[in-house]
């Protein structure tokens, strides 16, 4: 909608309903927070996956799932190659 305003669950929250009420959040909004930000602690296992790679790999997976014909928006540098599992249908 042009000039529209999507308030999300704000009205409920402002009305005093419990914060963090059950709700479906958009996956992209979640990944913004889970991949790009958040505390980085050196885990024992995943430490060697660089931050940038992690973001690229996962977003690429999403783009692929939306449309297999969409080329990688990051072009040049191919992320780790993995079997094309779970893509499209």
């Amino acid at each position: 909608m042009s000039g529209g305003y999507a308030p999300g669950p704000v009205d409920r929250a402002a009305a005093g309903a419990p914060v963090f009420a059950e709700r479906e959040v958009a996956l992209v909004d979640l990944l913004d927070r889970l991949l790009a930000k958040g505390v980085v602690i050196s885990g024992d296992v995943t430490i060697s996956i660089a931050e940038v790679d992690l973001v690229r790999v996962s977003l690429r997976a999403l783009v692929s799932s939306v449309n297999e014909d969409v080329p990688s928006p990051w072009g040049d540098r191919a992320p780790r190659r993995a079997a094309p599992r779970g893509r499209g249908r």
């Binding site: 930000k37 958040g38 602690i41 296992v45 692929s64």
Partner: protein, 275 residues
């Protein structure tokens, strides 16, 4: 490899609270969630099969949209469950330790740093605010007094006029969205304790129409400050120019504000991009 070995997946660092409050919470793979307590800190943890999360497996699974989404949503559900009971410092997706002893060692080793972050986040929530420019929608709006195109030469001129108006409509929408983003971000930073910018979202990922020109998160205290913040967002959301859209999400656990604080420095990314 022995497929039954497990690792400790850490969702969030928090202050110790009654673990019973996590009864029913399920983490990645549906595993029950527990608190690992050390030095006045607690980590919300569940066991995951190590072979699913070693480096190679993880790289592959991150390509698997269904796995990524299920893992992200499970992570989020646990963070939310923690945040309902106590202050939560969310960790990045897939932070694993070999066992709970290693988790305790990490809590011990970061006692002051984590404590400072938790103090800073306590009583705060995160709100997400996005601004979109949707020039096509603006351009598609019929001009109110557009004359009906006559036949012949006049039709061509009318067409050109219409195209020019559409182009102007687009430019106006861009300008309006950029200007709104700037003013909105400036105002919300005044009302919030901190602001962070995420990268604008790709419409192919979000499915949203238009171009995302602002993708920001704000750390806001609950109560009066929160009310003022939300009121400001609503006010900005009124009387928007054609082709401009504001979206609010939240409240979130303070995902976007755990990292910068943990690094020991506030992270003031200004409205202007750093050179």
């Amino acid at each position: 490899m022995n497929g039954t070995r497990t690792a400790s997946y850490v969702y969030a660092v928090t202050r110790p609270f009654d673990e019973d409050r996590l009864t029913g919470a399920r983490g990645v793979g549906g595993a029950p969630v527990r608190l690992v307590v050390q030095d006045g800190l607690a980590a919300a943890v569940s066991a995951v099969p190590l072979d699913e999360f070693d480096e190679d497996a993880l790289a592959e699974r991150l390509e698997d949209r269904a796995w990524l989404e299920a893992t992200a949503r499970a992570h989020h559900a646990v963070v939310d469950a923690v945040a309902r009971s106590a202050v939560a410092m969310p960790l990045r997706l897939s932070t694993l330790y070999r066992d709970d002893d290693r988790v305790r060692a990490v809590l011990r080793g970061n006692r002051e740093r984590f404590g400072a972050v938790l103090t800073r986040l306590d009583g705060r929530v995160e709100w997400g605010v996005k601004v979109y420019a949707d020039p096509d929608r603006a351009a598609a709006r019929p001009t109110p007094d557009e004359p009906r195109a006559p036949a012949g030469v006049g039709a061509g001129r009318a067409y050109l006029n219409r195209r020019r108006e559409q182009r102007h409509g687009r430019e106006d929408a861009w300008r309006a969205a950029a200007e709104l983003a700037r003013r909105l971000d400036e105002r919300l930073r005044e009302l919030a304790e901190a602001g962070e910018r995420h990268r604008p979202q790709d419409g192919r990922l979000s499915g949203a129409s238009g171009e995302n020109v602002l993708n920001a998160a704000y750390l806001v205290a609950r109560g009066g400050d929160g009310e003022r913040f939300l009121r400001a967002v609503r006010e900005f959301g009124r009387d928007l120019a054609a082709g401009v859209r504001v979206e609010l999400s939240g409240p979130w656990a303070p995902y976007s504000f755990a990292g910068g604080a943990a690094a020991g420095a506030p992270d003031p990314v200004g409205p202007g991009e750093p050179a």
